[in-house]
């Protein structure tokens, strides 16, 4: 009897933690740590975006992505330089902790910075929507641990995030595949609609460390509803360069790409990439 009680005593805690990740992390913590993973104090990246429709027709976009971590929240500015029809369009995301982020769109043709009201809108014709550029607001979701699995050769925590009505999310559920190696890097995210159908997948591959920050080389977004695909290739990234705060602002959105001077050789890099894309 004593032996039986001992076995139960050992098993009960294990049963209680079944479905929980190692280290007693609750699923919400995993998501929080993933969202707050180190990305450097600042970074500048050049991204090449390839849009492919169901018929295989490809379109390319080129942009610079400026990121600045701040005490009030992160700031992100995306400035497009290719193709010519969308040259100088800019989008801006300001993280507002505990609320929806502030997002702006600058359209050169209208000479106007416009507040993005619907985070459900597509982001410059890609398979991402403005909501995808925001960090998840933890209060608007409920979390459950699914399992530990393997993704791209790495052990990952699989965590489901169920949208509360307050989230106003375009998705009813997200399933995160977050690396279990302590980096909390989200290798994959599956997006589901209210009917439980998988509608979109985001995969991040070829992750490299830049100091404590991790940046992926490729982000592949598949919209399963229309067979459309967005592939974002990070051509280069420079982390912790001491990016001035004035360069990641709404004001900066209105400046033409030819007036961007960070990093110092950015004009040459843009010119080289543009030439390569035109070819």
């Amino acid at each position: 009897m004593k032996r039986l009680l001992m076995i139960i005593g050992v098993l009960c805690p294990l049963l209680a933690f079944a479905g929980m990740p190692a280290g007693n992390l609750v699923p919400r913590d995993i998501i929080e740590r993933s969202e707050d993973r180190p990305t450097g104090k600042d970074s500048v990246s050049m991204l090449l975006v390839t849009l492919t429709d169901k018929a295989g027709t490809k379109r390319q976009r080129g942009l610079l992505w400026y990121h600045l971590a701040g005490e009030q929240g992160d700031l992100d500015l995306q400035k497009f330089f290719y193709p010519r029809s969308i040259r100088n369009i800019a989008t801006f995301n300001e993280e507002v902790r505990g609320a929806e982020d502030l997002q702006y769109l600058y359209l050169p043709a209208a000479s106007r910075v416009r507040r993005v009201s619907s985070k459900h809108q597509t982001w410059v014709g890609s398979d991402l929507i403005y909501e995808d550029l925001q960090k998840i607001n933890l209060e608007d979701w409920t979390f459950s641990y699914v399992e530990q699995a393997s993704e791209e050769g790495f052990a990952v925590h699989v965590v489901d995030c169920q949208a509360k009505p307050s989230s106003n999310s375009a998705y009813a559920k997200r399933r995160y595949y977050i690396r279990a190696d302590g980096s909390y890097f989200p290798s994959r995210i599956d997006f589901f609609d209210a009917a439980g159908q998988l509608i979109k997948q985001v995969r991040r591959t070829e992750v490299q460390a830049y100091g404590s920050a991790l940046y992926e080389r490729f982000v592949q977004v598949n919209d399963l509803r229309n067979g459309h695909q967005t592939l974002m290739e990070r051509r280069w990234v420079r982390v912790d360069t001491g990016l001035p705060a004035s360069l990641v602002t709404v004001r900066q959105m209105e400046k033409g790409i030819e007036h961007f001077a960070e990093p110092a050789d950015v004009q040459r890099l843009v010119s080289d990439e543009t030439s390569r894309m035109v070819e």
């Binding site: 000479s111 507040r115 009201s117 619907s118 985070k119 459900h120 459309h228 033409g256």
Partner: protein, 442 residues
């Protein structure tokens, strides 16, 4: 016609060599960029048979072809930016069996120097000014001219015309800024000449109907002479953006003061008509916000001395001046990430209105825009319109837009107008048209 196509082809070939141009300009030092667009549009007029709301076709069709190319040189060096852009516009049209008309215009579009400091920026020269937040109709963005020579063929942003001005911004924390603008000389809206396809009914009536000769346009005097001053304070907050605006301007659309001396033997009026622009103060505010995925945008303006046609023969020039409250508010929403809907309600309220004035005391209207993707991000169906609620006065545009490549875009569609002569759209009820065009970016 062949000449037009050849010239446009030459513009296009120039556009196709931006790299060469940029290299040549690099010799000037700093960073140079050459960019622009080329636009070719052909339209066939259908008309409405002249009846209010009628969709009957005219017996003869008008046709026209318009091309427009723009080259922009943007030069940056040592904190100073210089931008120069030039337009070439060519037009060919045949109106109601009249002789062919060919026009070509080459002009400076924008040309300014911009200086950027840490907290301030100044722009001096010929520049396009865009204020306000509303999409289709703005009651704030009314102190610099628009090109109405083709009425609503172009979008509001495409219609905006550059003016010579000095504008400066002082930037505060969090994206807030204060802006001032001084335009040394007022520039009126660009309007079609009497007898042209898009000429205003009131002007046509005086000049072509009554046969009065039109004198050159005048502006009323005031403390700032012919100049225009405007200022605004823009605030950006977590939940809303807000701006407070003021403009000391002239009424963009001229009023017509008739001076009838008498009548000749054939009964035609003898005299002149004087177009003039009255001084106005416009005090306004604009807001933008978003909640639950719905964008809410609005503008409210109090405009002094707005001019309205009066049927009271005792009123000098048959124009009454009244302070007017103008508002526009609406929402926009995106369904399924791509289908965009924008709905706005506008209202003009005329203070001290009397029964002899041509417009009603309240002039409510609804504007809308619906953009539906038909094939990915490449093929779009767009339906846009405005409908006044106190009278028949209507504008519809149905357009198909196809992004063939990243640089080429095809547009085709139709425009429909209905209403009475005194209506904003009714006066153009004979101008229903089908059109097709191509737009190339370089």
């Amino acid at each position: 016609m062949v000449g037009i196509v050849r010239t446009l082809a030459a513009v296009l070939s120039l556009a196709g060599a931006p790299c060469v141009s940029a290299q040549a300009l690099a010799a000037l030092g700093g960073q140079n960029t050459v960019t622009g667009f080329f636009d070719l549009r052909s339209a066939v007029g259908l008309g409405s048979g002249g009846e209010v709301g009628s969709s009957a076709l005219k017996s003869s069709l008008d046709n026209g072809l318009r091309g427009r190319g723009r080259v922009e040189l943007d030069h940056q060096a040592d904190g100073l930016r210089t931008l120069v852009s030039a337009d070439l516009e060519l037009e060919h049209k045949r109106m109601r069996s009249a002789a062919d008309e060919n026009e070509s215009t080459a002009r400076l579009w924008e040309g300014y120097v911009e200086w950027e400091g840490e907290t301030t920026s100044w722009r001096i020269g010929r520049q396009v000014i865009q204020w306000g937040v509303a999409d289709e109709v703005s009651v704030i963005d009314s102190f610099t001219p628009q090109d109405f020579r083709s009425f609503l063929i172009h979008t509001r942003f495409e219609r905006k015309w550059p003016v010579t001005a000095v504008s400066g911004r002082y930037f505060l924390d969090g994206g807030d800024f204060f802006e001032v603008l001084w335009q040394p000389q007022f520039r009126q809206d660009l309007l079609a000449q009497p007898g042209e396809e898009w000429s205003l009914f009131v002007e046509n009536n005086y000049v072509r109907g009554l046969g009065l000769s039109e004198r050159s346009t005048k502006v009323e005097g005031g403390p700032l002479g012919d100049s225009v001053f405007a200022a605004r304070r823009v605030l950006r907050r977590d939940n809303y953006d807000l701006s407070f605006n003021y403009a000391y301007q002239f009424e963009q659309m001229a009023a017509f003061r008739a001076d009838i001396q008498g009548f000749d033997a054939s009964g035609r009026a003898v005299g002149t008509v004087q177009p003039y622009h009255a001084r106005q103060h416009t005090t306004s505010m604009a807001f933008e916000s978003g909640r639950d995925g719905i964008g809410v945008r609005g503008e409210l303006a109090y405009v002094t001395d707005a001019g309205y046609v009066s049927y009271d023969m005792a009123v000098p020039g048959l124009v009454e001046r009244r302070d007017t409250l103008r508002g526009v508010a609406g929402m926009d929403y995106t369904f399924a990430s791509r289908t965009y809907i924008n709905l706005q309600y506008t209202l003009d309220y005329i203070r001290n209105h009397n029964g002899n004035m041509q417009p009603d005391k309240y002039r409510p209207s609804v504007t809308w825009r619906v953009n539906v993707p038909l094939k990915g991000e490449d093929l779009w169906l767009e339906f846009q319109g405005r409908e006044f609620m106190n009278m028949t006065d209507r504008f519809w545009r149905l357009q198909l837009r196809w992004r063939v490549t990243d640089d080429w875009e095809l547009r085709t569609g139709g425009m429909h107008f209905a209403g009475h002569d005194e209506g904003i759209f009714g006066q153009f009820r004979d101008n229903d048209q089908l059109y097709a065009g191509v737009h190339y970016y370089f």
